[in-house]
Symmetry: C2
Subunit: 340 residues, 2 copies
């Protein structure tokens, strides 16, 4: 591997370059800003801390031929924010760890940083610190921190308004935000060389520039709901976690799935259903709770659609019913980062 | 690369295995324990949040021929806790991201996990969540989260009792915890095949099983000190960060450096000095502040030694004076993770 223009740079020049490129996405006004041994910030009175960490590696989580590094940066931020959104938390700060492979150039690093900065602005989070190393491969580790609001009168049990995997109860209805399957359809469109075709843009954007559903999660937590999950590993697989953690059965009505019209147009209705059930990559939320609460969540920009229900039968299992009342099994229920 | 016994395991079985091996080092009693989209915990009333993230990669930060994976796990935890210690914070929770290379076996993963668990217990921190992926190389990303105490009467400025790089003032004295250079001497002893020799054990342990100086940082913050830094990249290099951030000069008295007797015995006094100044790998703290406060820090198990002073002259520069009043320049001032 020939050396790149990054090789001459010291760790400290590189960090200065990254912080400069982050612009207002760098949290310069916190108690201790990036550059010290650790970052420090104030916690709102009464708030709980909510934190998550994701590791994304080139080749497994993104490929250079389907996504620019700026898109990988955007997605890495969105993926972490989505985990906080699925808790109903208020995302605040990120710590970003970059491992830069031997082929990474200064332009690559700038593109990655700018993509992260754009995603930070879109998601109202800022980078408070991090680490950068050289490695055999390129990887992005992001830890995201947010705040949980104290529980109000509408919340049963627990000190904080949080959405958990183990909060589903028989009798709850199941809803999903957005149009699951759009991101996976976008990837198929890109791989088929059809990304530039008319009508493909919303699918391509769903794959490369997904938005985490922070407002949906916060509205759900504020309304007293107790159960949500991010469905980025695939709707059925992630619902399986809810079913096992809550010891309930979950039933999904195939006909109720809110498909993206462009996905239907590009990959066909049947395949669009399979992608919605197990395609993964969607930073949407699945929510469980009373029908009336789910129907009236205040999320003006994002549709939330009822797609099923929580039952006492077949605990731990997720079943999809088709229009004829037959159980339907898609080719995949989701993906496993270890096997991908 | 032939497949290993890890290859058949799903992400979720692997996480279950890791959490089981962590034992009491897994934070099962927090508000939301490992296994949900994110972890959640309570924040002590009035406390500030302090957080750091480090990325360690095999080949750059550790090598299989000088360190077992259990030691790499120990060190990864210690490195992050050390960053919080350098802020005077109270370390609480870790998020652990593992990227497992193709050669990693189940035994390797268990060793790594057990080493992390031992280090967690020694440092009184617990794992609240994380992520595990397969990658082309093995890497450990850890985000550590701790709490800063509200500032007391002895603190000037700032709402929290925190130690910062920009807190050094002319007239301050400079102190260091422990015996810098011991970890680098330990690595040299290992590389020379002398790890089993009589007297080598403290040096080998300093390299493979270092302890972060949490009690030193907390005592310094409680005593009203405002400036400290972790010297794991090399004493002079890290003091350079303090000198630039504080816009002061720093003078180190070579004769005052507290060397480990075993380091002197194994590598000789002259080389031991060079390792203390620029060897890196020590999770010790350098502290700046009034002489009387530094002299009377309550750290019964760890020596804190005065080694120099902070001056208004040569701002941004760190100078070492030898016994003859001559400036001394060691072969290295520290190491750069990007160039290593």
């Amino acid at each position: 591997m020939p050396p790149t223009d990054l090789d001459g740079l010291s760790e400290f020049s590189l960090i200065a370059r990254i912080v400069a490129r982050l612009g207002e996405a760098a949290a310069r006004d916190v108690v201790v800003p990036p550059g010290d041994d650790a970052a420090a910030w104030r916690v709102p009175a009464g708030a709980g801390a909510v934190a998550t960490l994701d590791v994304l590696t080139e080749g497994t989580h993104w490929r250079r031929d389907t996504m620019a590094l700026s898109d990988a940066g955007w997605r890495a931020v969105a993926a972490n924010v989505s985990d906080l959104a699925a808790m109903g938390a208020d995302p605040a700060y990120l710590l970003v760890g970059l491992s830069l492979g031997p082929d990474v150039t200064m332009d690559d690093l700038d593109a990655l940083t700018v993509g992260m900065a754009e995603s930070c602005r879109a998601h109202h989070v800022r980078v408070a610190g991090g680490d950068v190393v050289r490695g055999a491969t390129t990887g992005i580790s992001i830890a995201a921190y947010g705040h949980a609001r104290p529980a109000g009168e509408q919340h049963e049990g627990g000190a904080f308004a949080l959405l958990r995997r183990d909060g589903a109860r028989p009798g709850d209805r199941l809803a999903v935000s957005g149009t699951p399957g759009a991101a996976a359809a976008g990837l198929e469109v890109i791989l088929a060389g059809r990304a530039e075709e008319a009508g493909a843009e919303p699918l391509v954007r769903a794959h490369r520039r997904p938005r985490a559903r922070v407002a949906v999660g916060q509205a759900a937590a504020a309304a007293g709901l107790r159960c949500a999950i991010d469905i980025s590993d695939g709707l059925l697989q992630d619902l399986g976690h809810v079913a096992r953690a809550s010891d309930v059965g979950i039933e999904v009505a195939l006909a109720a799935l809110p498909l993206h019209q462009a996905a239907v147009d590009f990959v066909g209705a049947e395949h669009a259903v399979d992608l919605a059930l197990g395609g993964g990559e969607d930073f949407e939320l699945a929510l469980c709770g009373p029908r009336d609460v789910l129907k009236h969540l205040d999320t003006p920009d994002v549709p939330v659609t009822l797609i099923g229900r929580v039952v006492a039968e077949h605990p731990g299992e997720v079943v999809v019913w088709d229009d004829d009342g037959e159980a339907y099994e898609p080719p995949s229920r989701g993906w496993d980062h270890l096997r991908a």
